[in-house]
Symmetry: C2
Subunit: 512 residues, 2 copies
């Protein structure tokens, strides 16, 4: 059955997942019955365990769904510790439902799949050897990719039922009061993990630092925690967040950042109390810096900055240019260490950040979002999931969620090496073109023609090189030529859901 | 059927409420399936309404359950505003399920009962004209009294299903991010209301102060809120919390406070990292002051102070004598205004405070609790609900919950005027004697004989006047004589549940 972005979704997949096809970016106002966890009452005994073995025996059974968070990113020691035990103890047929999977988790997930320990996966994304293995058909059932907001929605509605959550934290007291702000492996906001803490039947904290009772602030509360497992180290501080907050010197990145800034400051959204999400990466940091200059020059203050937070964004807060930082994760040490000091850097959970099925998420109030892309097609559809070789190598993250902003800007180079970014048809549709407003490349911008208001406003900006998206695509093709079409088998190895739970695309097994 | 404190609970009541009789103060480790609310998704439109009428039409139907909180205490304007409309719009057959009822709410509740608007009530307590009216049979169905922890438990398990919660807040933004810390009518912790916010299908905030978006800290979050109604004033700041933090000059209160302090500091619990809940009232404030002196003298620091918080307790925090204040409500302005300034004064919800059916409440970790009493009987059972005339005039509050502390001290005068406090049999059992350890009066103390350890320790304290509870009862009787027995009809007008949901006592209609 074809969906609204013209993807033919096999009926067998829709039946298997009990899903519908993507229809609209407008979620509307449905009424949803939420679920609740099953809670085993305790009465004050210390929950600290020195070994994970007993905890697993007490909580985990074959066929269950387990979850982890990815706030430690490439510095994560927890995932491997727990999965090692799970594999060695011979569990079978588990569903792995982390907030996302980072490269450091790849080897052990592949091992778990090969041994039948893990037979289902839902995640924001995957990369490297795991993405490659899944694209080559290693997993029996299709992976389900969900955005951060969609994961929260699915957990709240019971679509994802977490039996046991294993959440690494840089500190906890003996009862499970924990936060992400203190300790050697501090990462700041626990945003994605807070949903697991609220909805998992069993919650196991893994920490290297036991604090005096009661430990506050308690982002995760003792009322949610079953066990606290003490380990030597939960993470490598140097790999948790990039330390890189320096200004990019790459002229292409600088040019893109400057153009993104030109689009923002010349739009009707750039006024007092506007809000924005810039994301991470060299260009994003540069945008934040250009934006700062424009805000100072025009005496404009933002109501909030949202999303994955970086040091330059926290600097805007401290400078008084931003009233609140609404923080679902921190991308670098500066942002992570600032949260405990700044009451206006508010930790938010994934539902508050981006869930379409609650009574109002932060993204609903977002004016400007700057997002990246692996590919954008001439219908403005964006791919952040599969590479030019058709292999899974990305993550939805908050892409679909933040793209609901009033002004959504995709910032990307026209070509990367010999690969076009602007293409006739993206390999995988993750974010529908309907929610993309402007595409900014190093050679020029394209405005979604349905945004006639933006076309009118921006064509009056001197020196802003505006093209049609087809023209940008042709420019790219002129540079890198037409790639040979990719070859896939008919087998679906992954399903990308839109944030409402419908199927926006399927990823097929690569044939090579 | 007789329960463990020898109360004969009519079978008809047990059937009507689908309840069992009280068996034990030990809650054990049952597994409980929690419920979730039904949520109507929204997408960023302002929730501010200028009139409550439309909000009621959109949310409320005959027969539903509505809730309020009592954090504004006798300064509450919200309850009357909302109930006035509900009565005038002709609703019928509602269940009123507030966290508690204060005197300022009495007249309109009586009116609502008379007009059939309210036909069921569950509350922590009631006093004055309402208590009198209920004791004289005004309400068709029995009131159910629950402790603060039990209310949280009942909401989480679906025993209390809140259809619409009307929560007054001293500030909110247009989306419903709100706290109790700022604004003219600030009251500090929103502790009891946080459970309603999490579990009510519909949540209506009533506020007099709309803050810029996004408003943080957000004790109540936009993800939980359906409507924000703007009114002129939500409360009278002078009546919200008593300003009284002065040291009592009443020699009887001072004597009791000093004896309470002697019991504490001579018990094995008075050591570094101990924890305590002192409560409010003249004697409680005096206990806090004596305790401070002992802590300074012996260089002892507390891990946490719990409960309803007063200025003297916050002073201990600021002085470094207490590591954390775990704050479910603030009894005075000093405590309320301190919360926003002190990160170590942690707002906690009613579940975290005292719910027996979660993965660990603060009361489970409580060393010392000082509680009050209207009556204590020779089985150490405590009545905080009905007066010597048999009329309802109190509240369970956190009494049953905090009484699970390792050392629970009841502090009360031996007699009040011509009324004995220590009696052969309390008129209403609220907290079972099993959880009471020491009773302190102005003439002496009684130790629960099952606490042989405390008997051993405390009998070595010079000058501590230790009696049996029977001796104290006889001393009281000698002063005030034997009261004539109260007369009741057979009709049950209220049921007092223990914190686990079992029936600990019934209150009958007074015959006069």
């Amino acid at each position: 059955m074809k969906n609204k972005v013209n993807i033919d979704v096999p009926d067998a997949i829709l039946e298997q997942l009990d899903d519908s096809v993507f229809e609209s970016t407008n979620y509307g106002n449905p009424e949803i019955q939420r679920v609740g966890p099953k809670v085993r009452a305790t009465t004050g005994e210390s929950k600290v365990q020195s070994s994970i073995d007993d905890v697993l025996s007490n909580t985990l059974k074959d066929g269950m769904t387990i979850s982890f968070h990815h706030h430690f990113r490439e510095g994560d020691f927890v995932f491997n510790k727990v999965m090692r035990k799970i594999i060695d103890m011979g569990y079978q047929n588990l569903t792995l439902a982390p907030s996302s999977l980072t490269n450091v988790m790849n080897d052990i997930v592949i091992e778990a799949i090969k041994k039948g320990v893990v037979t289902n996966i839902t995640s924001s994304g995957m990369r490297g050897t795991l993405g490659d293995a899944v694209s080559h058909g290693i997993l029996k059932n299709p992976v389900i990719f969900r955005s951060h907001g969609a994961r929260a929605r699915a957990i709240e509605s019971g679509e994802i039922k977490i039996d046991v959550a294993f959440l690494g934290v840089p500190n906890s007291d003996e009862m499970g009061n924990a936060n992400g702000m203190n300790g050697d492996a501090a990462f700041g906001s626990l945003g994605y993990a807070l949903i697991d803490a609220q909805y998992a039947d069993k919650l196991v904290l893994i920490t290297d630092t036991i604090m005096p009772y009661p430990n506050t602030p308690a982002s995760i509360k003792q009322t949610q925690v079953d066990y606290v497992v003490k380990v030597d180290k939960v993470g490598d501080p140097d790999k948790i967040g990039s330390g890189a907050t320096r200004f990019t010197k790459d002229p292409k990145e600088l040019k893109i950042a400057k153009t993104v800034n030109d689009v923002i400051v010349n739009s009707k959204y750039f006024k007092n109390d506007f809000s924005f999400q810039t994301g991470s990466g060299g260009a994003a940091l540069a945008v934040t810096r250009f934006l700062r200059e424009a805000m100072v020059a025009q005496n404009i203050k933002a109501s909030f900055a949202l999303g994955g937070i970086t040091k330059p964004t926290v600097d805007l807060l401290n400078e008084g240019l931003v009233n609140r930082v609404m923080d679902v994760q921190d991308f670098d040490k500066g942002a992570a260490s600032s949260m405990k000091l700044s009451p206006n850097q508010q930790e938010i959970d994934a539902s508050w950040y981006a869930d379409p099925a609650n009574k109002g998420a932060m993204v609903d109030k977002l004016d400007v979002a700057i997002l990246s892309a692996l590919e954008v097609d001439t219908n403005f559809n964006v791919n952040v999931m599969s590479g030019s070789d058709g292999v899974i190598r990305g993550a939805i993250g908050g892409h679909q969620d933040a793209a609901t902003a009033k002004l959504t800007i995709i910032s990307a180079p026209l070509v990367r090496g010999r690969i076009a970014t602007i293409v006739p048809k993206v390999n995988t549709v993750i974010t529908p073109g309907d929610s993309i407003d402007v595409v900014v490349t190093d050679v020029g911008i394209a405005i979604n023609p349905k945004r006639t208001d933006l076309v009118e406003q921006l064509k009056q900006v001197p020196g802003l090189p505006i093209y049609s998206i087809e023209e940008l695509q042709q420019k790219a093709e002129k540079i890198v030529g037409k790639p040979a079409p990719l070859k896939f088998t008919d087998r679906v190895v992954a399903v990308a859901e839109y944030r409402d739970g419908s199927v926006i695309d399927v990823i097929k097994e690569v044939a090579d």
